[in-house]
Symmetry: C2
Subunit: 327 residues, 2 copies
C-alpha cells in the first residue's frame, strides 16, 4: 500500500514517526499497557492517513512554512487511528482481529481501555500545546463520527436485515471520516482556499469509501491455496459487508443467504457453509456489483481531481485513485 | 456531601449543568450508548469537582470576569470524571460497581467503550473551541495520571504483597490528580498568583487523599442492620485499601490476613470470612490508623489554608476539611 503514496518522502515519514515517538513516549515499560503502546508505535503501519494529510497540504501556498505543524498533525492523525484500533479491539471480546490476536486477547481488556485513553489524552495535550485548535476541533469531531460508526457497526452485527444504507453510514464513521479529516486538515493548515479544501475533503471521502470497500472485498476473496488464511473474518464476526449486502438485494438473494446468516448468528456456521456462501454471493453478482460501486467512487474522484489545481501531486492522486479502483 | 460545598450557589451549579447538557448533547437517543450518556448526565452526582474548581477560583481577582469560562471548565471537569467512571466500569467485566450494576453489565461493553470515547472527544472539542488550552493541557495530563492510577490499581488487584506506597500512588492517579487539577484550573483562570495556585493545588491534593481514604473507609464500615448493603465491595474485588494495608503492616498482621486474601484470590471467600477479616483488621488497628492518616492530611490542609489569603471561602474550605476529617 505505501507505494500508492510515493509522493511523501521517506524523510517526511521519518519526521512524522519521530513526532509519534515523542508524543507517545510513556512511563509503562514492562507492563501490559506499555506493551500495547509499543506494539502500536512499532506496528510500522502503512501510514496512509499521514501521507494523505501531507499530500493534501501540497495544494496550499504555505505548505513549506507549515512544515513542522503538518508533521505534528500527521503524527496525531496516525495516533488517532491507532487509538481507535486499540479500543475497537475491546468490542465483544473478539479473540481475533482480522485473523490476528486482538489487543485484549493478547494483553487484557484493562490494558486496551487505558492504552487507548492514554493515547487520546496525549493527542489532546499536544494539539492544545501546539495551538492546533482548528485542526484539533476537526479531529475531535472526527473521533465522534468514528464512535458513531463503530457503534453503528456493532449494532448491525449478525443482523439479517442490515441495509446498504446502514453499511455506508457505518463505514463513513469508522473509516471515511478520518480520510476526510486528513484532507481538510492538510489543506487548511497549508493555506488552501475553502474551495480547494472542500474539493480535497470530497476526494478524501471517495478515497475512504474506496479504501474500506476494497478492504472488505479483500476479506471476501478467499485464497484457498494459502494455508492458515482466515478468510471471511468479517462475515464470521457477523459484519456483513458490501458484497453480501449487494447480493442480498438481488432477486432470490435474501432467500439464498438468510439461512447462512441465521447459522452464523447461532455460531454454527461450518467451513463448507462459508465456501457455499461465498459461491452464492459471487453467483448473485455481489463481487461484480461491489467493484462497480468502487468504480463509481473512482469516477467521482477523478472528476474532483480534474477540478483541483493541476500539479504533480494531483497526478499522483489520480494514480492512487486508479490503483485503489484496480481489480 | 453537597453540604460541604455550600459556598457554590444553586444558580452556579445550574449554569454548570446547563453547559454539561450542551456539551454532552448526543445523537444516540434510543440506543445503548445514548442510555449510558443520559444516565451519566442525569446522575445528579455530588458535583464535588466542579464545586472545588469554583471555590478555588474565588481566590483570584478576576473571578467575576472569568465567570463563564469557569462554568464551562467546571462542566468539563465533571464530564472528565463521568468519562472515567464509564471506562473504569469495563475493567474485568465486573457486574457490580460499588454495589450498583456496572455500565457494561447494564448496557454492554461496546456502549461503555464508545460512550467514554465520545465524552472524551467532546471534552477536547470544547476545550479547543473555547481556547481553554492552558487548562485543557492541565486536564489532559490529569487524564493521563488517571489512566496510570487505574492501571496501577488493576495491576494490584488480589495482590497479597501490595504496599501502602502502591496504594497511595494508585489513588493519587485515580482520584487525587483531578482534585488537584480542579484547584489549579480554578486558581489560574481567575488570575491567582502562582504561589496561591500552588497552595490551592496542594490543598486539592490533601482533599483528594482525604476524600478517597474516607470513601475506602466507608466501604469498610459494614452496617449489619442494613439489608442488601454490599459491604467490603473493594476487598471482594481484590482492591486492598487503607485499613487492610495498615493492618497488614502491624506485627502478626500479614500472617493473620494472608489466608483471607488467598481465599479471596481463589474466589472462595465466604460471608463469615468477610466478617472475620473485618474484625481482624479492626483489632490490628487498621481503622484507627486510617483515621490517624486522614487526620494527618487534615492537619496539613489546615496549615495550607492558613497560608492562603484569609477570606470567607478560606473559612468554608476549613469547614470542609474538618468535615472530611470527622469520624
Amino acid at each position: 500500500m505505501p507505494k500508492y503514496f510515493t509522493r511523501v518522502s521517506d524523510e517526511q515519514i521519518q519526521k512524522i514517526r519521530e513526532y509519534m515517538d515523542l508524543f507517545m513516549g510513556h512511563p509503562f515499560s514492562g507492563t501490559a499497557i506499555g506493551a500495547v503502546l509499543d506494539d502500536a508505535a512499532s506496528s510500522q503501519g502503512k501510514m496512509i492517513r499521514p501521507r494523505l494529510l501531507v499530500m493534501a497540504s501540497e495544494f496550499g501556498s504555505a505548505c513549506r512554512e507549515a512544515g513542522d505543524r503538518l508533521y505534528k498533525l500527521a503524527a496525531i492523525v496516525e495516533m488517532t487511528h491507532l487509538a481507535s484500533l486499540i479500543h475497537d479491539d475491546i468490542i465483544d471480546d473478539a479473540p481475533l482481529r482480522r485473523g490476528k490476536p486482538s489487543v485484549q486477547s493478547k494483553y487484557g481488556k484493562n490494558a486496551a481501555v487505558y492504552a487507548g485513553d492514554f493515547l487520546m489524552s496525549r493527542i489532546s495535550y499536544h494539539l492544545m500545546r501546539e495551538g492546533l485548535n482548528h485542526s484539533g476541533m476537526v479531529l475531535s469531531k472526527t473521533v465522534e463520527a468514528m464512535c458513531v460508526g463503530e457503534i453503528g457497526q456493532a449494532a448491525c452485527r449478525y443482523k439479517e436485515n442490515v441495509t446498504m444504507e446502514e453499511y455506508l453510514r457505518n463505514i463513513h464513521g469508522k473509516t471515511v471520516a478520518l480520510f476526510m479529516a486528513c484532507c481538510r486538515i492538510g489543506a487548511r493548515e497549508s493555506g488552501c482556499s475553502e474551495k480547494v479544501a472542500q474539493l480535497l475533503e470530497a476526494l478524501g471521502e471517495c478515497l475512504g469509501y474506496m479504501f474500506q470497500m476494497r478492504d472488505d472485498l479483500l476479506d471476501f476473496t478467499t485464497d484457498h491455496t494459502q494455508i492458515g488464511k482466515n478468510a471471511h473474518q468479517d462475515f464470521q464476526e457477523g459484519i456483513y459487508t458490501l458484497p453480501v449486502l449487494l447480493a442480498l438485494e438481488q432477486p432470490g438473494g435474501r432467500e439464498a443467504l438468510t439461512p447462512f446468516m441465521q447459522r452464523n448468528a447461532g455460531r454454527i456456521l461450518s467451513a463448507e457453509d462459508i465456501c457455499r456462501m461465498e459461491q452464492l454471493v459471487t453467483e448473485l453478482g455481489g463481487m461484480e456489483k461491489s467493484w462497480n460501486l468502487i468504480h463509481g467512487y473512482q469516477q467521482h474522484a477523478e472528476e474532483l481531481i480534474r477540478l483541483l489545481p493541476s500539479c504533480e501531486v494531483a497526478q499522483l492522486l489520480l494514480k492512487l485513485v486508479r490503483k485503489l479502483g484496480a481489480v
